[in-house]
């Protein structure tokens, strides 16, 4: 693969109820990324956005965001999945050889719409939707139970992921304030109320408000823009079956296949020793363990045994991950940005020492139906 560099980024702080107009937030992110990289509107050659018509309350919602997202009189398009998928589209546009600078932005404001009701529109209108027993709440319970039952993993082990990520979020000034919990205990997590048994409230990545933006450029251009580009060494993506009843929810085969594809492109043979840090989009705490196993960091059912603290053997979600705040359509993009920060040494209090290679993942769909993984490397 030709070298494509990440040359800039910006993330709006996560809020549970932001006093922002939607446009202001998009502008702050896309303009913020340009400013940080010392670039101007005229430098943009393509803009890829990631939002969702249901979340935006209007159809073809990118038609309204052209000006604020930097797409005015530019090549512009939208991805209606996770922000990490928008990075893929941006990457492809740059690899086409026609573009010198892609702006990729994504996010939404979950405080403005009934998140769970909007997600019900993912279900089959001719079969599951009328009764609504299948939804993003119940599917979380199915997934965690399937994983625990198959491997004998305990709720305590899964609660530890929450304790770690919320503690990490406390070091991340851009994380959701309500998720910055430095002194949380396993007991607190287990007693935080049933969401969908065995998932408890604190095991859920809290939907919130934010927009983030990322800049991509081909090698030659990237080196002109910054002396600290981060290179995309590999990307993999894969999609599982639609109906939950067709899938093995105890694992995540689509993440496994996405990882194989990304590792093969990046020449990664032994991920647990070659990868220095991982930023994974865990919509629920148990997904971090499932993903870590599918990424080859541990054997199946042994994800909880990884020392994944910031100073651990393989730090996972040092930023706090999605448990530190989950702005729909922005979360996977923020994982990519957080991995970039680690590789450029800009992660502040949650910096992993000497990080050279990172992975970042995004997902969309119930029980992470569709997964995407990037392998990134510092210059």
């Amino acid at each position: 693969m030709q070298k494509v560099g990440i040359v800039g980024y910006y993330q709006v702080k996560l809020y549970s109820d932001a006093n922002y107009g939607r446009y202001e937030m998009i502008f702050e992110a896309s303009r913020g990324a340009l400013d940080k990289a010392g670039l101007k509107k005229k430098d943009i050659s393509t803009v890829i956005s990631c939002t969702n018509d249901y979340y935006d309350g209007r159809t073809i919602s990118n038609c309204f965001t052209v000006e604020v997202g930097g797409g005015y009189m530019a090549d512009e398009s939208k991805v209606e999945m996770d922000g990490a998928h928008a990075v893929l589209y941006g990457l492809m546009r740059v690899l086409s050889g026609n573009h010198n600078l892609a702006v990729v932005w994504g996010g939404s404001m979950a405080s403005c719409y009934p998140y769970h009701a909007a997600r019900l529109y993912e279900t089959d209108p001719t079969w599951e939707r009328p009764l609504a027993y299948v939804n993003d709440i119940t599917s979380a319970g199915f997934q965690m139970r399937a994983y625990m039952e198959k491997y004998g993993v305990t709720a305590e082990e899964i609660a530890k992921v929450v304790v770690k990520n919320k503690k990490n979020a406390a070091k991340n000034p851009l994380a959701l304030e309500e998720a910055q919990l430095a002194n949380l205990s396993v007991k607190d997590v287990l007693n935080s109320g049933i969401y969908a048994d065995p998932v408890t409230e604190l095991m859920v990545a809290p939907p919130c408000d934010s927009v983030a933006a990322l800049l991509l450029a081909p090698e030659k251009q990237a080196l002109k823009i910054t002396d600290k580009p981060v290179w995309i060494k590999g990307v993999g993506y894969n999609q599982d079956a639609y109906y939950l009843g067709d899938r093995d929810l105890s694992g995540c085969k689509s993440m496994n296949l996405a990882a194989k594809m990304a590792y093969s492109a990046a020449g990664i043979k032994d991920p647990s020793s070659e990868i220095d840090v991982a930023e994974l989009f865990e919509a629920y705490a148990h997904e971090e363990l499932i993903f870590a196993e599918e990424l080859g960091f541990a054997d199946k059912g042994k994800g909880a045994e990884i020392n994944s603290a910031i100073n651990g053997d393989l730090p996972i979600n040092p930023s706090g991950g999605a448990l530190g705040g989950n702005p729909p359509c922005g979360t996977g993009l923020i994982r990519v940005i957080e991995a970039v920060k680690q590789l450029t040494g800009e992660a502040g209090e949650y910096q992993v020492k000497g990080a050279k290679k990172a992975v970042a993942s995004g997902q969309i769909g119930m029980c992470a139906q569709n997964n995407i993984l990037y392998v990134l490397e510092g210059n």
Binding site: W127, E128, A132, A140, G141, E149, A196, L244
Partner: protein, 171 residues
């Protein structure tokens, strides 16, 4: 008969502006109705005819042999059409509980309308290869175990739609 499932979406035309000290919110009141009608297709139409008569019908992929409930036109794994006039399988009203969860949340609101707990199960109808998702009825949570045998509790009056299956009870 062409069977439709109606989904009603309210389209917004009237704006209501609320002001508080910190924030001005434009809340939308729906006045225009847009009714979405999804034709369920020939396969589900036949399936719903069966439900109306308290019968479960699946269909079998001629290539991989997987049996689907509800029936499907396409086997996604094999990427082939399962012919409409062939491969139908009559299935019993019993099955195995594969997974379950309990929640007090309804999908329309998680913040203020906390309802009574209900338990939702994934049930594999005997002789099929996929699970369907319904409520578990008339059982204590302590008695719910993965792998237990369950059977359909039919609605008193069937209508030929997903609500004909009221839920599943212990065998």
């Amino acid at each position: 008969m062409h069977r439709f499932i109606l989904i009603i979406i309210l389209i917004i035309i009237k704006n209501e502006i609320k002001m508080s000290e910190e924030k001005v919110i434009v809340a939308n009141k729906g006045l225009v109705r847009a009714d979405f009608a999804f034709w369920v297709g020939q396969y589900l139409d036949k399936f719903y005819d069966g439900l109306e008569n308290k019968k479960i019908m699946g269909n079998k992929c001629p290539k991989c042999g997987d049996v689907f409930v509800p029936p499907r036109k396409i086997c996604g794994k094999c990427n082939i059409v399962i012919p409409l006039e062939e491969n139908w399988v009559d299935l019993p009203e019993t099955g195995t509980l594969m997974n379950f969860t309990t929640t007090a949340y309804r999908v329309n609101d998680r913040t203020s309308r906390k309802a009574k707990d209900w338990t939702i199960g994934m049930i594999q109808i005997d002789g099929s290869n996929t699970s369907i998702i319904y409520r578990l009825l008339k059982m204590e949570l302590e008695d719910v175990k993965i792998g237990m045998k369950v059977q359909i509790e039919w609605s008193e009056k069937t209508k030929g739609d997903p609500s004909d299956i009221k839920g599943f009870i212990k065998v």
